[in-house]
């Protein structure tokens, strides 16, 4: 557990569509804040240097490495994590495409990869292969060799377009 350094303050932001308020400290990172909540451990920490992207979350729709964002930075922001994807227990189109394409192995990078893909497809519903590669290259997957992930992203884009999302 990380230490609670710095002055305490009350933080308010939107987490997966729900307004939340909690007491925290100025030196707490967003990743630690999320993970200490019992329901927030889908956000994974690996390098803790904003390199690998395992801890990617969306802050106002922008993918960010939550290991390197202070909790105070998200005051009044809209934060989305893997726990907030899908509706009514059904996975999102991106989650479903990752599941169907075996676009994961150990699963440690998967939440980050999925959130990255959600952000990409929100900006560009029909990205070309170069764009997909470019985006996926911001995160590290040590298991898959990436090809299955790239296919899952294409598949997710296709499904979302067909569903008119």
């Amino acid at each position: 557990m990380p230490e609670r350094l710095g002055p305490r303050f009350d933080l308010a932001f939107t987490l997966n569509g729900t307004p939340v308020g909690m007491a925290t400290t100025t030196a707490t990172t967003l990743a630690d804040l999320l993970r200490e909540r019992r329901d927030g451990r889908g956000t994974k920490l690996a390098c803790e240097r904003a390199v690998c992207g395992a801890c990617t979350v969306l802050i106002d729709d922008v993918p960010r490495a939550s290991c390197s964002v202070f909790a105070f930075e998200v005051a009044d922001s809209d934060v989305r994590t893997v726990e907030g994807l899908g509706t009514g227990g059904e996975p999102s189109a991106v989650q479903a495409a990752f599941a169907d394409n075996s676009a994961f192995q150990c699963g440690f990078c998967t939440a980050g990869m999925i959130l990255l893909t959600e952000a990409l497809l929100a900006r560009d519903p029909d990205p070309d292969d170069a764009m997909i590669r470019d985006w996926i290259s911001s995160n590290i997957c040590r298991c898959t060799g990436y090809a299955l992930i790239l296919e899952a992203v294409r598949e997710a884009a296709r499904r979302k377009r067909e569903a008119g999302e």
Binding site: G42, A99, S102, F104, C106, T144, G145
Partner: protein, 771 residues
């Protein structure tokens, strides 16, 4: 090649059994485990590569508020046997007399949080007497080289079979030697040519995303509970019981999902420190390393491989002698086992009259090296497949033809006493040649500063581990719900999915009826470990037998109830079919066993029979082959090598889950590609200079070759269920040598040292041109 009709479950790429949890972020890993009153551990690491410890003063740390336990050599002295390792018990829980690498653990603290633990560590005073370091593999055994271990640690040499031998401490700073010899010693005398070449292999870190982590609870004196990111929970249980002087039934090891390992998560890593602190504090302790500390915990083996190969003028291989030096780092870890395999695999998939090999584990003042995907086979495939190409060119033979002339036939033993090769090696080679367009290479457009070329390689290793027992249990409830209990950890490779598929197929059930029970040494049947691509080939056989045993019991029960021979009955969807009749099982079971019902329990066991004729005391379970081919473009002005095409193919025997097989080969191939081109740990003496995520470069999606493909062959000769064989390491083995061979094809220079950097290519081009 995937032309076999899928069965009900086998051969279908349904969603993996772990898919729903993993895409939803609900999968639980050891990093996610928390216990009430849990403390957090951090360790103090040596800033010296080699030093004697004069004194340690931890009194200030002990007095700090929030600190609940401090572990130094003063405390570990009370532990029954505070050292660990595989064959050789040489690694202390915390340093005692000396530190042997930068990063060696000197002290540990358990505190309310990691920050407090780190502050306490900073207050520990250690007085070191620095010693000269050993960092050069070739000079480590010089008479004047400093010695890492002045006294011999406790160690064993396992029993070997025909032609194989091992020795502890054969020379200075060498902890182990493995040797193998077969065929007449004078075989070189008959050769038309004898070629001697030296190859150098660089060192990678596994870079598994989930860090080394464990949660240890030894708050009750007579009972250890341990959650850990570990691939061999039973081996770990044995080691923990030995270290701390407990019974194995006092130690429970639980393995949640593992966030990648690639070999590193075998044996003791974080666990002894966490346990010792938990005992001292009387509270549970979580010990999670940073990724940077991971670099200091376990690595691949750098190597120097000296090959002497005798051939006839027509390219027929006759004899190969080799000397392999593995950089084992400061502690033996899995090095002697890797030495066995490197020494054994160096001939590659070819027929020789004479093989002699000596492989040495050389200790240096660097991080301990241990198991890494390929397990010695990556090193040997790099050297061997490079040299085969070199010899072919020297003899004026096409490298592909050279290989064909010498490949071991399907069913032919690798060496005397061994099992037969269970893949048609020619079939895989033909596939690479076809997919790559190898025959049409070197077209006239190969002019100008950028030259193109192609290279082939056949990576080779014995698969399934040595002498591995595996036990599995399949339970089926009254309602037809299936429990699969076995010790294979899910580390990403898809083993839980594949093993559940085997059970579902045998029981005529949907795979969704199968639950893979948590891996827990208190409840899971015994397993040697999740390693050596053994899940489907070793555990798979045990699981298959367990499922068939359960099925037989169910059919015999039904035959008794229906008063007919069991042979007339079929089991499908938890109904007994007899001709056109269908009999639901649940009422039948409750009729016999009462309303609570019953569980049918089948057990299955597998172990290769021991045989002294086999060099490693048991014949190899299966042969893991990775055929590969690459097309490169070499810029002769910059030395830049661009891999334009990379094709790899393995033989799954029978692909239980084709997409999982594909992912294994492609993930392995990309690891091979990055090793070939750029990925390496850089040491300056005893100091690792790029041990962090930013400066240590692992491959990204952008590093994929423009044309990157894999094909899963299903040749059907595997020993596993439905003809399956192991996967997961083979795809890495051929890549570096295929690329080096392609560079030679393109520009006529031979690089014998990894990685194949622009600097090395340019230097080789300059040397060739006499510049």
């Amino acid at each position: 090649m995937n032309d076999l009709a899928p069965l009900r479950t086998i051969g279908r790429s349904d969603r993996r059994i772990d898919a729903a949890e993993k895409v939803a972020g609900r999968a639980v890993y050891t990093v996610d485990i928390g216990l009430p009153d849990m403390l957090h551990a951090k360790v103090l690491r040596s800033p010296h590569g080699h030093a004697r410890i004069r004194s340690i003063d931890a009194s200030a740390a002990r007095a700090m508020p929030g600190v609940h336990a401090v572990l130094t050599r003063d405390e570990t002295a009370a532990i029954r046997m505070p050292v660990y390792g595989y064959f050789i018990k040489d690694q202390p829980i915390v340093a005692t007399d000396k530190v042997r690498y930068e990063g060696d653990i000197v002290a540990a603290v358990a505190a309310e949080d990691e920050g407090t633990a780190n502050r306490a560590l900073a207050a520990i005073r250690v007085d070191y007497e620095p010693l000269p370091v050993v960092s050069d593999l070739e000079r480590a055994s010089d008479p004047d080289a400093p010695e890492l271990f002045e006294e011999a640690p406790v160690g064993i040499v396992p029993k070997y079979g025909e032609g194989a031998s091992g020795e502890l401490r054969p020379r200075r700073n060498v902890c182990y030697r493995f040797s193998y010899e077969t065929g007449p010693a004078d075989a070189f005398a008959d050769c038309d040519h004898v070629f001697e070449d030296v190859f150098r292999f660089s060192r990678m870190h596994h870079f598994h995303l989930e860090p080394f982590v464990s949660v240890a609870d030894w708050s009750r004196e007579d009972r250890i509970e341990l959650w850990t990111s570990c691939q061999n929970p039973f081996g770990l249980r044995k080691e923990i019981a030995r270290i701390f002087g407990l019974g194995e039934n006092q130690v429970a090891v639980r393995v949640p999902y593992i966030g990648g390992g690639f070999g590193s998560k075998n044996g003791c890593k974080t666990e002894p420190v966490a346990l010792a602190l938990s005992r001292l504090a009387g509270r549970p302790v979580r010990f999670c390393l940073t990724l940077e500390e991971g670099f200091l915990t376990n690595t691949q083996h750098a190597a120097i491989l000296k090959l002497k190969t005798g051939v006839m003028a027509d390219g027929t291989l006759i004899a190969r002698e080799s000397e392999i030096l593995l950089d084992s780092g400061a502690y033996s870890d899995g090095s002697p086992l890797v030495a066995e395999k490197a020494g054994y695999r160096i001939p590659g998939p070819y027929r020789y009259k004479r093989i002699k090999t000596d492989c040495y584990c050389v200790m240096t003042n660097t991080a301990p090296a241990g198991p890494f995907r390929g397990f010695g086979g990556t090193q040997t495939s790099w050297a061997s497949e490079s040299q085969i190409d070199m010899i072919a060119h020297r003899l004026g033979i096409d490298p592909c033809e050279m290989r064909r002339r010498n490949l071991i036939d399907l069913g032919e033993p690798f060496v005397p006493g061994e099992s037969g090769i269970d893949s048609d090696l020619h079939e895989g080679l033909d596939l690479v040649v076809r997919e790559l367009g190898y025959r049409d290479r070197n077209q006239p457009e190969n002019e100008g500063p950028v030259r193109r070329g192609m290279g082939l390689s056949i990576g080779f290793k014995d698969g399934g581990g040595v002498n591995k027992p595996a036990l599995a249990r399949v339970k089926v409830s009254t309602g037809g719900d299936i429990f699969l209990q076995c010790g294979t950890a899910e580390i990403g490779q898809g083993a839980h999915t594949a093993l559940a598929a085997v059970v579902a197929e045998r029981l005529g059930a949907d795979r969704s009826r199968v639950r893979y029970m948590p891996v827990d040494t208190d409840h899971s049947p015994f397993d040697q470990g999740t390693n050596a691509s053994s899940a489907i080939s070793v555990m798979g056989q045990a699981v298959d037998r367990a499922a068939l045993a359960a099925r037989r019991q169910i059919l015999e029960f039904a035959a008794d109830a229906l008063d007919c021979p069991a042979e007339e009955l079929e089991l499908t969807d938890w109904e007994i079919r007899r001709g056109n009749e269908a009999h639901p099982l649940a009422p039948m079971i409750m009729g016999r066993f009462g309303g609570t019902g019953w569980e049918f329990v089948g057990e299955g066991f597998h172990k290769a029979e021991n045989s002294h004729a086999a060099p490693l005391e048991a014949p190899c379970v299966f042969w893991e082959i990775g055929w590969g081919g690459a097309q490169v473009a070499v810029d002769t002005e910059t030395g830049q090598v661009t891999v334009e095409k990379l094709f790899v193919t393995g033989d799954a025997g029978r692909a239980i889950h084709p997409l999982v097989c594909r992912g294994q080969d492609e993930g392995a191939a990309l690891m091979g590609l990055s090793q070939a081109l750029f990925e390496r740990m850089i040491y300056d003496g005893s100091r690792l200079v790029n041990g962090d995520a930013l400066t240590y470069r692992v491959p990204l999606a952008d590093d994929l070759p423009e044309d990157f493909r894999s094909v899963t062959q299903e040749q059907g000769h595997g020993p596993g269920p439905f003809g399956a064989k192991g996967m997961g390491e083979g795809g890495m083995l051929p890549v570096a040598s295929a690329i080096a061979n392609a560079i030679h094809d393109a520009v006529g220079v031979r690089i014998t040292e990894l990685p194949l950097t622009p600097e090395r290519v340019l230097a080789a081009l300059a040397e060739k041109d006499g510049r």
